[in-house]
Assembly symmetry: C3
Homo-oligomer: 355 residues x 3
Amino acid sequence: MITKEEIMEIVENYDQDNLSIATVCSHSSLQIFYGARQEGFRTIGICVKEPPRFYDAFPLAKPDEFIVVDSYKEIPTILDELRTKNAIIIPHGSFVEYMGGEVFAELPIPTFGNRAVLEWESDREMEREWLEGAGIEMPKLVKPQEIDGPVMVKYHGAKGGRGFFVAKNYEEFQEHIDPNEKFTIQEFIVGTRYYLHFFYSPLREEGYKLSTGILEMLSMDRRVESNADEIFRLGSPKELEEADIIPTYVVTGNVPLVARESLLPKIFNLGERVVEQSLELFGGMIGPFCLETVVTDKLEIKVFEISARIVAGTNIYLAGSPYSDLIEPNLSTGKRIAQEIKLATSMGQLDKILS
Amino acid sequence: MITKEEIMEIVENYDQDNLSIATVCSHSSLQIFYGARQEGFRTIGICVKEPPRFYDAFPLAKPDEFIVVDSYKEIPTILDELRTKNAIIIPHGSFVEYMGGEVFAELPIPTFGNRAVLEWESDREMEREWLEGAGIEMPKLVKPQEIDGPVMVKYHGAKGGRGFFVAKNYEEFQEHIDPNEKFTIQEFIVGTRYYLHFFYSPLREEGYKLSTGILEMLSMDRRVESNADEIFRLGSPKELEEADIIPTYVVTGNVPLVARESLLPKIFNLGERVVEQSLELFGGMIGPFCLETVVTDKLEIKVFEISARIVAGTNIYLAGSPYSDLIEPNLSTGKRIAQEIKLATSMGQLDKILS
Amino acid sequence: MITKEEIMEIVENYDQDNLSIATVCSHSSLQIFYGARQEGFRTIGICVKEPPRFYDAFPLAKPDEFIVVDSYKEIPTILDELRTKNAIIIPHGSFVEYMGGEVFAELPIPTFGNRAVLEWESDREMEREWLEGAGIEMPKLVKPQEIDGPVMVKYHGAKGGRGFFVAKNYEEFQEHIDPNEKFTIQEFIVGTRYYLHFFYSPLREEGYKLSTGILEMLSMDRRVESNADEIFRLGSPKELEEADIIPTYVVTGNVPLVARESLLPKIFNLGERVVEQSLELFGGMIGPFCLETVVTDKLEIKVFEISARIVAGTNIYLAGSPYSDLIEPNLSTGKRIAQEIKLATSMGQLDKILS
């Protein structure tokens, strides 16, 4: 990974009164550009082949300018231009996926957040080490012979919501498993899923205090998954199977929701543990992150995954959420990111939030 | 259908500085009146027997005055009064349904949008000609012997969410079909449903440009259907059938959601094709319309129906949506309609948006 | 129950220009405090052991001060302090549950709303007498031998979403019932659930008029229930049963939605009947209440329960709902409560809204 020193050398050559905010035109870019504009930043959209026309339909989110590349693989060739424009990159899921984590880690361009999180998050075992090390309960990994309840089975190389199946017990597991494929088995936590949108600020002082900085919880969403969400109109899992119709879990969108207020202490405790552990392990996970959880009927919260950057579920809330409105009316995660960059600039502490 | 010339003759006798906006008190009328008020229009509610009392509970949406009829069939008798008040009618689904399409088409009163759309939309075959002619993928119509996957079967005369059934395959189709009834069979697209709320403006120049005018996407919703949405708590389709409990699909409300940002280019492309084709076929579909779609797990979008006017799903968003807020904070479809009328008036081009 | 006279004696000793609003830190307290602040009230959070840290994360909702007790049972010991601070208690579900209804009924401290509602609401038979006396349709109670369709069976002592089961018919009932337990059987209404959030004001004069005062409908929600909401990904009820997985109905959160506009007259009629009957039976149910309903595919609305105070479903809407925005932009139930107290104070009629 590129070092903090190398990045800060670039930043020192920036005109810090004229920073711009850049990201790839996808995922949560409308929100990021909108938020950046609200805080007075110039915005740059990085896009493939030509500027997506849909931005014309959303004038308040349209970036001030576009930089066009032939493919996302070409992003390393536009870094000079980005640096000339004093650009800070806001990474999102598609950005990282399109570039590849390894290329992204090395890009000599200031990036919001700590890129060291990437290796901890992208490797299943390190992710588990991080979260369980923080004292967080995750769905257990089980061996075939240990199955004693519902499980989620994931074939290696499963991607984007396919290559999974659920089994209610060992018999069903055996019926379904393709023994020629590699797989992992995870306890299936029965409950309702909540995707919790946090923000860790190493700079703000007022708020829910951590060992250093503060923790915010800006919103939460539930994902809309195709075809799993509506397939039950056709038949139960077993009935579908007999008809050779296979459930898939491809995210197509997001729905807003709120959690029982009595869950908030647990929710903040989860966020707190994850951040504190990240501070110890790799210097901290800066800015927005998402805990992907299941709330059981005993009101326990299990975490099955972490995303260490802005997630698309925050797109529902670009004019505020029932939580962020209690920090500042109409606050979105995109706006919050821009505020953090502004604050760091005014404090002369961009090194605390960039990598 | 009444001619544009006849309508414009009425409009020319209007006091265009004192237009009022009128609609039938149902469906999306709160939103329409609220939006009209926000833009400074006088509002008129057309109601049966007596003004619905619930308007008293929503002072910002209560029309300035009511015109009472004995039944919606009597609307033709109040046109003189409406014309005296310089009224422009905003049609919505219930308005058209209550009056009957043929009566509606002939009403000598200025109506927002192009009434020519009605025949294209209300006839299943013409609707398919329009949409498929625009290069849009719809669920295929299939013959019984061609069934090779899930299908939706609709008896002729099915109405309001009843008289349908789904079958996972040919065997199930055969088990269920009543051969004494007429029916059509349509491929059942497995995925998640999105109702996309567009607005076509022939007048605005800045935005997502079409051959003439611009396209906006203001919001999207998912419908709440009774009893299909919650019936699965009782049993799977097969188990319900054995207990003689029949799934129905009656819309009782709407839920907000957003789509993956990477779907937006496809979404706008769909809207664009539909409008361009409408311009060719019948002079254009003006103002709000809705594409009723399913997003598959391959992230394809199939369109199963079009509504060529404001839909009730927009009612969720009368203080703005995660999309419309990027055009103008707190913009609703109702407000957008009023803005278009205001713009047309100021440009002296009411003929472009009325029929 | 403590008498109105005793309460008003306390209130007369209050400095009415410096009232404060107090509640227990849970359930809907963020909303209550936020709304109270918006209307200029000082706020007091009653909490166990120590102030919940999560309030630090929501500065606009953090109470001005906390009063710490060892357990909610100790609340009676802090009444002096509360009275010194001119506090009015806003009761919510957790407040009443934690204290116990009988203790709550006797607390010598001014409480928003009419505490007489408690006995009518907490006793299933009196609740039914009240609602059915108001001409409202509830799910029928049935005897085992009368079962002729889907039923919901509830064991006595069932609590918090457990100890229920649904059966599609008599056979299933017989298969499942534990004859050694006491139970009640209720018709299972097939449809979609709407939790309707009303507000009855005995003081406002403009609005949806009742025999005295006015009725508002501020919002509606649907509950997120664990594990019932997502368990169907594993199997149908029957398939789950064979795997010994039991559906439970524990509320973990809430989702926003709107209802068909044509349902509004029925919705207001239900609210109206309930309030009018409460005026007759026990002097009226003041302030927020919630009707828990099912809308069938015939667009009938059945009420299965009433909550006679603010419900947690309103937490979604602390910056306004598609309904409350038509009364006043950004109006929440929490803010509405504070407005009512302010209005009563200015009218010198606190006796009308406190007990």
